[in-house]
Symmetry: C2
Subunit: 354 residues, 2 copies
């Protein structure tokens, strides 16, 4: 079963919880929902930043206000959790906020690993007030991969990365949308909670039981392969000490013919693990082609540079350096637009159709 987000129905009016973490890294879910989502965002909830705007703090969202209380966003109908709690447990202050929202009959959208709908107090309150608790990661995946019925004419492109939080979801969305603008039948395939929130469907692969990971990804491909081109959101990194099996399951379940390698210029170590150095891009490219190639021939067709930390001059230098080093097209999809990656996707398609 794919997760079907409430976002696939009528647009919601969201208040997004970003308490104490309204910055572009910690609140990346909020950023993506404002940038790409179908729902109206009424406000961000962060009592430490009241009076500022989303644009000021996150570089997106225009005049969307930061508020301290639900009372300050009376037109909302849904509270979306836009950050991860420290320590992975629901803080007690959040619990009070969620109960307040539920008491107003608002729905809750959560991407946490710990499911709100399994919490007796929250579940009882939701039942009482007719609110819906939507746990985006909740799934009952129980199918193994079968390798049957996969349409070879559907081009599968997967974003892969040097680390977490380098832009794999953003690149997949931007390339899919640019292909659509050029008249191609392309679809962004969401594999993480934020992607599912903005796209309205997908599979939360990092929360699938390990035996069924490849099978869940294969089903996701089968469900979308009526499109000509799939842009499949990658997860983690094949070199990530924590999440490498999620990355591999995506590659072996989706069997992409092409990959776009994403990285952030200037980052030296795995995020959150300062003692683990990142693997250089040239070696990483080889590792991805080898590990993906266990199931299906696949090659890296372009590099997505996240130049968040670079000046314009540094960007030019970095882009040229990587292009020379790897002999592949390079761009920052935010600052340069995704055109060179779109061209690379279409070139791969032409070469495979022959």
């Amino acid at each position: 079963m794919m997760t079907d987000s409430a976002g696939s129905q009528n647009p919601r009016r969201l208040i997004i919880l970003t308490e104490g973490q309204t910055d572009p890294i910690e609140a990346k879910t909020a950023v993506a929902v404002m940038r790409y989502g179908k729902d109206e965002v009424v406000a961000l909830l962060d009592s430490t930043q009241v009076g500022k705007t989303a644009q000021q703090l996150l570089g997106v969202g225009g005049d969307i206000p930061i508020v301290a209380r639900l009372d300050d966003a009376p037109t909302a109908d849904t509270l979306l959790i836009g950050i991860a709690p420290a320590g992975g447990r629901l803080p007690s202050a959040w619990r009070a906020t969620l109960l307040d929202a539920i008491g107003r009959g608002w729905n809750i959208v959560s991407g946490l690993h710990d499911f709100l709908s399994d919490d007796p107090e929250l579940a009882a309150a939701a039942e009482h007030h007719g609110a819906r608790l939507h746990d985006v990661r909740k799934n009952r995946e129980r199918d193994v991969a079968r390798r049957q019925g996969i349409r070879s004419n559907c081009l599968r492109i997967q974003t892969v990365g040097q680390d977490c939080s380098v832009g794999k979801m953003v690149v997949a969305v931007e390339v899919a949308r640019a292909l659509a603008r050029r008249g191609h039948d392309a679809k962004f395939v969401a594999t993480g909670q934020t992607g599912i929130m903005i796209e309205g469907d997908g599979c939360p692969v990092d929360c699938v039981v390990a035996d069924f990971l490849n099978g869940a990804v294969e089903k996701l491909v089968l469900a979308n392969q009526q499109h000509d081109i799939l842009l499949i959101e990658g997860q983690g990194s094949i070199t990530h000490p924590r999440y490498s099996p999620v990355t591999l399951g995506l590659l072996h379940g989706a069997m992409p013919q092409g990959m776009i390698l994403c990285y952030e210029a200037g980052r030296k170590t795995i995020s959150g693990m300062d003692s683990v150095p990142l693997v250089p891009l040239s070696r990483l490219r080889n590792l991805y082609e080898k590990t993906a190639g266990i199931m299906h021939p696949s090659r890296v067709i372009g590099i997505a540079l996240n130049g968040r930390l670079l000046s314009a001059g540094q960007m030019d230098e970095e882009r040229a350096k990587i292009r020379d080093e790897l002999g592949l097209p390079v761009c920052d999809v935010y600052r340069d637009g995704p055109d060179v990656l779109v061209d690379a996707v279409l070139a791969l398609r032409a070469s495979l159709i022959g």
Copy 2:
């Protein structure tokens, strides 16, 4: 949390359910429990084979009888499910048997992905009759890998394979026991339901949520690294279309310094997927060293040949061929004993302590 099997306490008196599948492949859990477990096996339950013995059908277990009804094993106190149901769902005939056993106050041990303790009817019956439902695969793993506190002087050896069901668990058990007989402090580290049933502890890695797989394996190593040598049970295969992420998570969580590559002579395709050819051993060795090596240097130190289908003459031929081809020690742990693999483990240990 590691799963702690009921087997870690007083020995139980088991009746093992193998209905309709009392053969060495389908009933491999029953075979391992009889061969390696600490519990007394009173009978096997298979109404299609009544009157035969375990030895006749499975090559192990001596005079343990095959019976049709629980009444025929009155001294049992525990029913252990020794096979997987076709289709993954609990057959209605099994349900009646489980309820019968629970009604006698017997405990149930199950390695199924669908948890008996989550089944309302079975859970209510167990509560009423004071029986325990032990779901060996059930876990709440929620920790990511940290890469801290790993003892470099603990030698970690992992069995890896060309496919499922080639002997990875058996080889790990046999090598650990042979090392112990030679006076070494070696421990078999169970990572699957059968291994946990016989060892009394371990982690059911294939049932862990993907984001926490490497972390669960790392915890398992940390919990056992007071021993000098760990023999870690491998799972699946890095080339298995269904289970490759489980294999990778074990390698990246455990970071073995050495691997023993297991295969069954004569097998040509992935079990259950006739259209998927097996990867040749020489390429496979390279793939394992490359993928394990992403996290920690590791090399294949020996080959475990499963010669189940071979005559004595064919065995000699196969052993010599593989030894020449790969330049590594080769043995069938059942037919040859594990000595050459034990020597390879000790040689690796000597070279690392150097």
